[in-house]
Symmetry: C2
Amino acid sequence: MSDGKIRNMEDFAALSGISRPTISKYFNDPQSVRQSTRAKIEEAIERYDYRPNIFAMNQNRKLTKNVGIVVPYLADPFFAEIARNIEQRCIDSGYRPTLFSSHGDPELEVEILDTLRSLKPAGVLIAPLGRASRKGALERFCKDVPTVLFDSNLEGIGAAFVGSDNFSFVSQTVEYMTRTGAPPAFFEMRTPANPNANKRRSAYIEMMSRLGFDPKVIQIDGEGWAFEEIGRRGAHKVLEDGSLPTDAILCSNDRLAIGFLSACYERGLKVGRNPDCVLRVASNDDHPFSKFTCPALTTAAHDYERVAEHSVDSLFLLIENGGSLPTREETLFPARLVLRASA
Amino acid sequence: MSDGKIRNMEDFAALSGISRPTISKYFNDPQSVRQSTRAKIEEAIERYDYRPNIFAMNQNRKLTKNVGIVVPYLADPFFAEIARNIEQRCIDSGYRPTLFSSHGDPELEVEILDTLRSLKPAGVLIAPLGRASRKGALERFCKDVPTVLFDSNLEGIGAAFVGSDNFSFVSQTVEYMTRTGAPPAFFEMRTPANPNANKRRSAYIEMMSRLGFDPKVIQIDGEGWAFEEIGRRGAHKVLEDGSLPTDAILCSNDRLAIGFLSACYERGLKVGRNPDCVLRVASNDDHPFSKFTCPALTTAAHDYERVAEHSVDSLFLLIENGGSLPTREETLFPARLVLRASA
DNA sequence: AATAAAAATTTACGCGCGATAACTTTTATA
DNA sequence: TATAAAAGTTATCGCGCGTAAATTTTTATT
């Protein structure tokens, strides 16, 4: 201290002319001290560049300002985007987000939950793996830690769910394709990892019935999260054996569609809505790359911003409410149809 | 304790029949206690599911087991992939990695360094933004915290650098294109954010000279990290005004190439090595998506695994060495040429 | 100016663990 | 079996901060 080095809050308090407990209060919640005191403290922070020891803070606080963000697969730019959005909102609200990716591995997902526990987070935002998730472990975790699920819903788990309205997605793409051409067949994985996939299939079937058409579901084999490659192989297979029931294809998600379009290109099949095209392909998600496929992908877009915003707001509400909410609300946002060249 | 709940290491020590200092030693380094004691402790951990309070640990330890990983742009699957690889290696070595993305923002990069300081990390692995990075802040950070740079080198900053040998990349693609067709023109951003881009341009010019050809560099406008869109617009422009000096194009990186191919498709220009193709396009990086472009992209691939492995090994060596190394080593790994349909 | 309410201060303790010194027990090597 | 080295034990302190009670100072209201 005499050498100008501030070692702890005590030193900083002495130099700034404010008592330590008040400084502590300030860092706990800047609004809890008088405006004039706050100004003094902030000036001193600026001058001495002091920050409290984060470990000592978190050790003693009943509730830390940590927030965990867990996504199933960070190498998927869709999740990277939404994670970025959520991350920023947490920072802006004075929380300290930490980002985790399950990398498609259920065991890793559970390990992350374990790590999160030790971080004593104020709350957690998790997009679970889905079908593969260890539901028991997740459920136990949500009992102990205020948790909001996003993107993938698991019935009854977590205090709230925020995601996209799969019916809104599929109904728009189906309606559009039908109106401007022919009713589409639905292209998906046989055993999709993500629960949204099942909802999308149901929505497709429902929508086709409403419009008076026979639903045609094409299910391809494949496991894991390499959706593009699975879509590409699956497309090659159905294009090879001619089992495609129609020339209008609606893919369950953009990553499958990316693979599908890749296969079409490799086989010299022109995709699009021009007269010389033999196929039309649409999809769901508005993946960051879907603008750059060949042709560019017609797709139903997530409202990233609103999903992120409402997820974070739900979590903060949950935290302020002491970790529980009266009912488990499921909030679904509609899609926005993005017309590009592929359909 | 009497109610079965273990509140701290003291309780756990009592239940496991080992003294607390020994337990503490074990968690600091499991190898530092006798085999028989270790077995007892591990059995007790298993039985009581005890884990030490991470905040109390880090507060008092001279050196934490925290490792920071910083990438410039996590929505780029290339960085997501390499981050995943590094992350896993850290975990396997008993460290606790935390992942950060600068999201292309130099201010955020500096903020992350600030956050990292407060985490008292044993070491940090950072792929800096490059040209836009606040070099002063980075340099100061590296003086205080053992840091290894990867992917993007900043002269003299950090204790070591691990990346890819840009000459190996470009020389292979140039040589291949020249041998199998014509010497390529080099397609890049005018003011690239990443220092690798400059090295690639130099390598291109050098390689063309060696082969006895005139280097032809096409520089397109654009700022930021939306490389695909920049590449697409740039391609449209040069294809529009016919300023392309040759029909063989080597893109500085895959993301630009993705945009380039997208533009070609939109203009009905067939790309590839078949006789009916009017352009050949190759690139560098082997981006996860480059297998699914139309046509699939011929590119020089990073050795993700070796870069990740050597980065982590360098950091651990640095840590064991007390935070400094005799010389600042720069390790570059060669590329592996991946032949696909585009060139 | 009087008074109550709000805010800041002083004092004191506790959190869970790291680290050390002095001592005792176990193990290794002869 | 003797003996030194290695490992474990007991006891005690300190880290940097949260938190609470009692007290004093400042602010707001009449």
